[in-house]
Subunit: 705 residues, 2 copies
């Protein structure tokens, strides 16, 4: 994209649509709030709201990546792209982008929430940059910091931060991704030499898909089964040097390049294997489990299961940041598609001489506006997740319960936002037609890069299953030792749609105090309270139904129990998804509860309503089957949505401008105002031609004569 094109970008703050010539009779609602003579949102204030708690850090990051050196070059061949992204990591170091998560004594800034907030924005420059820096500092560095102890920090953290020690995070194996506990790599302690022997016993135990493994990693944090004195103490993490100063593998270490991927080709993913590689005992990252020189194992967490999950939980930040990056990437796609849809014209309406702007089509509104509402919800829920994360990792609220909540929240939100990203980016690309398929317009690249977000750092379905199990466990807790009266009382409550306060995540009725200014809701039959009741009631009943169906498992054989669980797996995942949707809806409602500006509050309430109704429409069959909506009310949901789309249509440009992207972040020529110029030129041409009296007559008009 040329500099000129960047300068031509008319947004934010001056929607080109304001300059449109109104066409009498075209099936158009107003294109802007000004035309609609309505209160409009305070765009800058909404930007603040969306950027959330760490808005200043985000703005810093966005300012930094205005430098074209950070931008993805479309179509760049893989080898050059990899080198470019490595260079961008060095630039990040220079700009202090690598320091925020780490302690000040090693050159860090000790600010966890800000770290992730800034990191998420890198997706706007190049998702490869976001993920490669995530590998270096969020995974490799974080493993050393979170799973290691002071001696390890002293030894390596400064070099990690400065990128003098690039590293890989070697957890996943070819044979085991989601089931980390079952990995095959072994780390066997040899008391004679006080060394661990890192070994790959078979092909499936090769470490795989690791960023920094193919080329740049000098070391890796390797997860392996810790075996000492003939006992396997489960998965632990070890610091293992990989390459010498010339980049050649050290003795016993080998590997392969993963080659071209569906996206993120700025990252050198690869495979690693180890043939009895010896590392000093020192290199066991021993915060949660240690081995004495004689081989005696010790841990302050006696339960092997809890120890394992504590170690994994220390690395939750990957999921938190993916939730945010997916949300930001989705916003970029919506900004591009809505801006284009506000300028692009196609087909006359049959009612006037002019062609219709895409966003005036009922179908086009339906394609984009509910997704815009969803994306707004994600901004609010991600900020909540980020605050929870910061509370735990700053130590301010670091309790086991809060850690567990954080992990569940991340496991519920990351799947939803990453799937939404793919669906929304795809819809945006299709809504831009052929121009959406050109790499220069960014949408295809975003889809390709974000594709893997739905299966890495925890496969989305597996994460939701974890959330579902947590919901089931919380549900069961309520009835531990319950007598018949209590169960009956619960059954009664169920029918009125109250929510069991499950999953320890949020005391629903409490924190959603206001439910987002009911008074401002469109005059629907489904105001905020009803939306909440429907969304929350669904989670409750699904979990309660599944729990009921699983009850026989308690007295069944393990095989029968497994079969019973398997028969309910798909629905449990659906219940977890419903839970995540509820959390997003609540976060959205909380987020707008404090808004004072009347226009902003009004429009955001409509948008929240659109999100709520969109969710209810998606699950309409469930509400009908379960008697929670009558056929009549259910039939009205889609009509409400159509009305909300019409209401929001004039505010669409304001709402995507409120993402606060500068031209250097957008970079897509179709969202630069160029389309508007082309339309204007074409219309001027036809107007001049008509005025000249030299326009050819149309055959049709002749035939009429």
């Amino acid at each position: 994209m040329s500099d000129a094109a960047v300068r031509q970008n008319a947004h934010p703050r001056k929607p080109a649509t304001n300059t449109r010539t109104p066409v009498g009779g075209a099936p158009t609602s107003p294109h802007s709030a000004v035309e609609a003579h309505e209160a409009r949102i305070d765009v800058d204030a909404v930007t603040d709201l969306l950027l959330g708690t760490w808005r200043e850090t985000r703005r810093e990051a966005r300012e930094m990546i205005k430098d074209p050196a950070f931008w993805r070059i479309e179509g760049q061949p893989m080898p050059e792209h990899r080198e470019r992204v490595l260079g961008q990591l060095r630039l990040l170091v220079e700009n202090n982008g690598s320091r925020r998560a780490f302690p000040t004594e090693y050159g860090g800034l000790d600010d966890n929430g800000a770290n992730l907030a800034g990191f998420m924005e890198l997706v706007l420059a190049d998702p490869s940059l976001q993920i490669k820096s995530g590998v270096q500092w969020g995974l490799f560095g974080s493993a050393i910091y979170q799973l290691g102890t002071k001696k390890h920090h002293d030894a390596w953290l400064r070099d990690v931060i400065e990128l003098d020690l690039p590293g890989a995070f070697a957890m996943t194996e070819t044979g085991h991704g989601s089931d980390v506990a079952a990995i095959g790599t072994t780390a066997t302690y040899d008391p004679e030499t006080e060394e661990f022997v890192i070994h790959t016993p078979f092909r499936g135990a090769w470490k795989d898909y690791l960023g920094n493994a193919a080329l740049h990693g000098r070391a890796a944090t390797v997860f392996a089964q810790l075996i000492t004195n003939g006992v396997n103490y489960g998965v632990h993490c070890f610091f293992v040097p990989l390459r010498d100063d010339d980049g050649a593998f050290l003795p016993g270490v080998g590997g392969e390049d993963d080659g071209v991927k569906g996206g993120l080709n700025g990252i050198d993913n690869g495979r690693l294997h180890f043939d009895h590689v010896r590392i000093p005992r020192f290199n066991l990252l021993n915060r949660y489990g240690d081995v004495a020189s004689d081989g005696t194992y010790s841990s302050e967490i006696p339960s092997p299961g809890r120890r394992f999950f504590t170690m994994l939980g220390a690395l939750v930040q990957g999921r938190v940041s993916l939730d945010g990056a997916a949300t930001t990437g989705t916003a970029l796609a919506l900004h591009i598609a809505v801006t284009y849809a506000n300028q692009r014209r196609q087909f006359d309406s049959g009612a006037g001489s002019d062609e219709v702007v895409l966003l005036d089509y009922g179908k086009h509104q339906r394609r984009l506006l509910p997704r815009l509402a969803q994306n707004y919800a994600q901004f609010f829920s991600n900020d909540e997740l980020l605050r929870t994360f910061d509370g735990v990792f700053s130590g301010r609220q670091d309790t086991p319960a809060e850690r567990e909540n954080l992990e569940t929240l991340a496991a519920a939100l990351k799947p939803l936002s990453t799937w939404n990203a793919l669906e929304t980016i795809q819809e945006a690309r299709e809504a831009c037609g052929g121009s959406g398929f050109l790499a220069e317009n960014r949408l295809v690249g975003l889809h390709q890069d974000l594709d893997v977000y739905v299966t890495f750092e925890g496969d989305n379905n597996i994460l939701l299953q974890l959330v579902g199990k947590r919901l089931l466990a919380d549900f069961a807790k309520q009835f531990r030792g319950a007598d018949a009266a209590k169960l009956a009382s619960f059954a009664a409550r169920q029918t009125v749609g109250k929510v069991f306060h499950g999953a320890g995540l949020r005391q629903f009725g409490q924190s959603v105090a206001d439910l987002g200014s009911t008074a401002r809701s469109v005059e629907l039959g489904l105001r905020a309270e009803q939306q909440h009741e429907l969304l929350a009631g669904r989670v409750e009943q699904m979990i309660s139904d599944i729990a009921g169906r699983l009850r026989p498992a308690a007295k069944a054989s393990p095989a029968e129990a497994a079969e019973l669980f398997n028969a309910n797996q798909a629905e449990l995942i659906e219940a977890a998804r419903a839970h995540g949707e509820l959390l997003q809806w609540e976060a959205f409602s909380d987020g707008i509860a404090g808004v004072d500006d009347e226009g902003t509050a009004q429009v955001l309430t409509w948008l929240r309503d659109l999100f709520g109704l969109h969710l209810i429409e998606k699950h309409l069959a469930w509400y009908l089957i379960n008697g929670r909506l009558s056929s009549q009310r259910a039939a009205a949901v889609s009509k409400y949505i159509d009305r909300l789309c019409l209401r929001l249509r004039p505010h669409a440009q304001d709402l995507v401008d409120a993402y606060g992207f500068a031209p250097e972040h957008v970079r897509a020529p179709i969202a630069s105002g160029a389309e508007h110029e082309r339309q204007a030129e074409a219309r001027a041409y036809y107007a001049d031609l008509a005025a000249s009296g030299e326009a050819p007559a149309s055959e049709k008009s002749l035939k009429k004569k």
Copy 2:
């Protein structure tokens, strides 16, 4: 992929899953029909069934593309990829792949159905090859053949077929894609020199996204507004030379490279513009409209609208072939994902010592098997489309009504199959986890290349809208001049779920004579008749409802009418989609009606039922709201689907083997048997370790002591 890997490919005919060690108690159903002790499908016979009417041509094409010269090289930079695909086109010529659609007098083979059938298979080699050859012979060559007359055929067809004259098809402009009638390029006749002047009056009128335009095209078939004697006779097609023998643009011609795209980067898409470029009168492709030397226009089709649609209709083959290619591409993705899911293991079930094969998970079955059923339906409906196409283009059944039916059928099926392709390929990629993201496993490349299929050759939503309008028109025809009694009688019929015989496509009750062996249906409450009634009744009622809501438009102002239509646009598109789904279901039912082999008929009937119920589940809310299913029956639909998935699970490998792909077509290492070998190696390792007595004890087992 190495030759060795290709050789290792165990499929089709020897599912690796047959070698599995059964695990007592794991939540597994049998992995193969052999294990299930059930009748199984006759795989070869089903391959014949799927390959359809032109199965021999398809087999020839598949044999040809076993040559690695035709294969896509993952990650190949764009310039090399473009050259490679051009070379593949030359190979196609050598293999007679370019001749089938053209008359024998120019070296053709005069076999339209076979031409498209063979062409569709190229997607297995490289979708860029499929589309670039489609540009050359299906669009550029076809425009000359279908829109030109003998003098044009004599002049150019032989060179087109031999690729001595590579060309572009210059219809779409930057400013107008779907609305072809509104393109800006002009062709103004100059009687003094007997030339047309081809001109691009403004930037939006540049031709855009044209394959062969950036590099290889020597000429183009350019669509432009034909203006003569001061009258615009609408869009016609002209043969315009572009480049000289050295590849330089001729005077007045200019252009740009479209650059990198989301996929299909083996094709040199580009833009063209014309500055008063003069071409001889000869170059007007004058089959449907001609200009005499004095500038007098003549046409055998007096209506400008009908003439325009006749010209566009002559090019329908693009949509027909995309429907088939999308179906074949989807099949490849399912073959890869199902084969992998039958070998890959992850997590133990808690019930046995072994890990569970992915396809044994309830959720995994739900993700893949309904899509397999859908893909089967598409094979059958595509063959029907192909037969209709061949009937028209061979001249055997070339009536205006049949042409219209063909166009509507293509417009209904192409959107469904191309969207299904993207969704299924994406689900397949996610179902393969990280390995699905590696380019070598093909899924990401397929998604990238097929992405644009949903918006080119007619944007999917626009095509469905056309179908919807056709359904509305047919509906209206039934009541033209109807009196109150007739309307009342229709209303009565509606409630019993009978179908109006709309869209002239298929006399539903007639051609679906058997409804696919009801006796073989699973004992459901929703047998074939009910499925058909529900699917057909939905189309009927949606159209009838929309027609009712649009009725006031007849008496409204154009603006009000446009607004009313716009308010119903999204639902009209939904109705058209429902119509397409019905056609697919009927084609599937027809396709299996003649199957004699008991096992094949049984399994395919289950699969057809799964397809039908999957559609009904998707639209369950509609059935409930409209009183067509009770809550109780609706709740049962999902359970039926779960049961069908369990029934079909042992047949899944047979069903994807029946696609008939050879290792040279699949090429994905994860579907080669490599995963099975890795699993076997790992299990052997642990078995040997246990047998050796040297296996470390697990910490957990120690704690129990």
